[in-house]
């Protein structure tokens, strides 16, 4: 009897306390998720009405060159940013782990891009990369069209992206490195292993779980990149289609062209793409991530 009363009160409080969150998730996420899938299978009619049209939007999407280019751009952006970004972040994390004075000042500086809005960051870099008056061409003595050359524009965006996320990734990796027991390094030093050897035989395997988290996070963020490219490459830029990511195309298709059915199909495709890449990584991790501590 008494237990029954307690569990009933538990139930009351439990449901009461989760109510706002669950209601919010249903209205803001579950319903929109289903609605997006339905809309991707509908065509837009007058007065904001929709009509079921099967896989018509998907056929339009898959036969569009611009769509495949955007998919390729998103994947290429991933390839350009993720390996190089994580490599530098790992080196930075090791450097920040050294016992030196002024470590916290360096940490503060490297983390800086994380707290300023990507829109502002992109605007500053766009000026630095300006082909005619930008400081980068002036210093290098080059005449590279960083933002308008179709072959270069995504590399430029990738540089800015790596610069922006370097400190953040390094801080995450640093906390992973700091959890490694010092005794491993002491033993290795006694055995005469060099610092470089210690890095590859102790640091990398021991930090691999954190490395995996950073990798997944970076892959997801790169595949849905939008704000940086939107700010660097405006819609009048001749290299637009060579830089346009899937989410940029999604934005233009849904909110500028007003074709929300096709926009929804692009969103569904992006989610599938991210899902596939994530699953592949989770399978691949068994080969290199070390969970035994």
């Amino acid at each position: 009897m008494k237990i029954g009363k307690k569990s009933r009160s538990d139930m009351f409080w439990g449901y009461l306390m989760i109510f706002p969150t669950i209601l919010g998730l249903i209205v803001l996420n579950i319903y929109p998720f289903i609605e997006t899938i339905i809309m991707s299978l509908s065509s837009t009619k007058a007065f904001g009405k929709y009509e079921f049209s099967g896989i018509e939007n998907y056929i339009t999407m898959f036969s569009s060159g611009e769509f495949w280019k955007a998919t390729w751009n998103s994947v290429w952006f991933c390839v350009l940013t993720v390996p190089v970004g994580i490599f530098f972040a790992l080196i930075l994390a090791v450097l920040l782990n050294a016992k030196i004075k002024g470590r916290s000042i360096f940490r503060t500086i490297y983390f800086l891009p994380m707290v300023v809005a990507p829109a502002a960051v992109a605007m500053v870099w766009k000026w630095l990369f300006n082909a005619d008056f930008g400081i980068i061409n002036s210093v290098l003595g080059t005449d590279i069209k960083w933002i308008t050359d179709p072959k270069i524009v995504l590399i430029t965006c990738a540089i800015v992206s790596i610069w922006s996320s370097l400190g953040y990734d390094a801080i995450l990796l640093l906390s992973g490195i700091q959890n490694i027991s010092k005794s491993y390094y002491e033993a290795a030093s006694l055995d005469g292993a060099s610092k470089i050897k210690q890095f590859f035989t102790i640091t990398v395997p021991m930090v691999s779980p954190t490395l995996f988290v950073v990798l997944i996070m970076r892959l997801m963020a790169s595949l849905k990149v939008y704000d940086l490219i939107y700010m660097m490459v405006d819609q009048a830029n001749p290299a637009l289609t060579d830089a346009q990511s899937l989410m940029y195309l999604f934005y233009r298709e849904s909110f500028i062209a007003g074709n929300k059915g096709l926009g929804s199909a692009i969103a569904v495709w992006t989610v599938l793409l991210i899902g596939i890449v994530t699953i592949v990584q989770f399978i691949g991790q068994k080969k290199w991530v070390n969970y035994e501590v």
Partner: protein, 274 residues
């Protein structure tokens, strides 16, 4: 005894120093450009310092964008998003961690599903709901997708799970009701987690661009990020104005970061992985 200078440390300093210059240079160049005239900014070869430190670019940026309104809109959006994330996520996180009720696992899976899906998949219907009720061009519209936070719920649940059950049991033996146990005993123990969620929410909301651009198209209702992006089209070749605008948009968060940098870095390291 004099300590021998460690050669490795010197190399570390050099590497970190070069990196730090790379990180800081864009900001320095932004400031230097903002105080130049446009002809000075476009000189070849470039001049490093402005011959005269002029505020014209700032004036022009302030004239073309209603910065006081952008600050006020951004502040309100961030404030309400933080309040919602902290209050609702604390409640739900506590319930999911410490209270037993039927269908708990199934309900929690809703939280996990939201976290796994990229936010863009929700965007069109979220916008259409607002448009239907004529709630675009409003602060509520800016706050809307952040009314609840799945990540906040997940994160605070983890923190509550780390607090031993005995603490809550002792409070209830002392005569606290369920609600009092939560607000007076358990909640105060999660303050570092709450600070981390608040910072995470603020940084994310401040940087977000696509949602504010979609939902509020009137420049007087924009945030700093979306407002700044309109400047981009307006002054394609007036670089001092663009840089002055960037400084004005960066300033509030930069000041907060410099004041509370430890909390920022620890907060982000704590919430890391999302």
């Amino acid at each position: 005894m004099k300590k021998p200078i460690n050669k490795v440390n010197i190399l570390v300093y050099i590497a970190l120093g070069i990196g730090a210059i790379t990180m800081l240079f864009p900001f320095v160049w932004m400031v230097l450009t903002a105080f130049k005239t446009n002809t000075e900014a476009m000189q070849i070869p470039p001049v490093i310092f402005p011959s005269e430190w002029k505020l014209d670019a700032f004036k022009q940026a302030m004239e073309s964008l209603p910065f006081p309104k952008l600050y006020w809109n951004t502040a309100r959006m961030i404030f309400f998003r933080i309040v919602c994330a902290v209050v609702f996520s604390s409640m739900a996180g506590y319930a999911f961690a410490k209270i037993e009720f039927p269908f708990k696992k199934a309900l929690f899976s809703l939280v996990l599903i939201q976290m796994m899906l990229p936010s863009q998949i929700f965007l069109i219907p979220q916008y259409q709901m607002l448009a239907k009720f004529e709630l675009t061009e409003s602060i509520f519209g800016l706050v809307f997708p952040g009314l609840v936070s799945a990540f906040g719920t997940f994160f605070l649940r983890q923190i509550y799970m780390g607090i031993p059950d005995e603490i809550a049991e002792a409070a209830q033996l002392d005569g606290c009701t369920k609600w009092q146990t939560f607000t007076k005993v358990m909640l105060p123990l999660t303050v570092p987690g709450i600070v981390a969620i608040a910072i995470f929410t603020a940084v994310f909301a401040y940087g977000d661009l696509m949602w504010p651009l979609i939902v509020n198209t009137d420049v007087n209702m924009m945030t700093l990020s979306s407002g700044l992006s309109t400047l981009n089209g307006q002054f394609v070749t007036n670089f001092p104005v663009l840089m002055a605008g960037s400084i004005l948009a960066m300033a509030p968060m930069l000041i907060l970061y410099i004041l509370f940098q430890r909390h920022f870095i620890e907060g982000v390291a704590m919430t890391g992985g999302k």
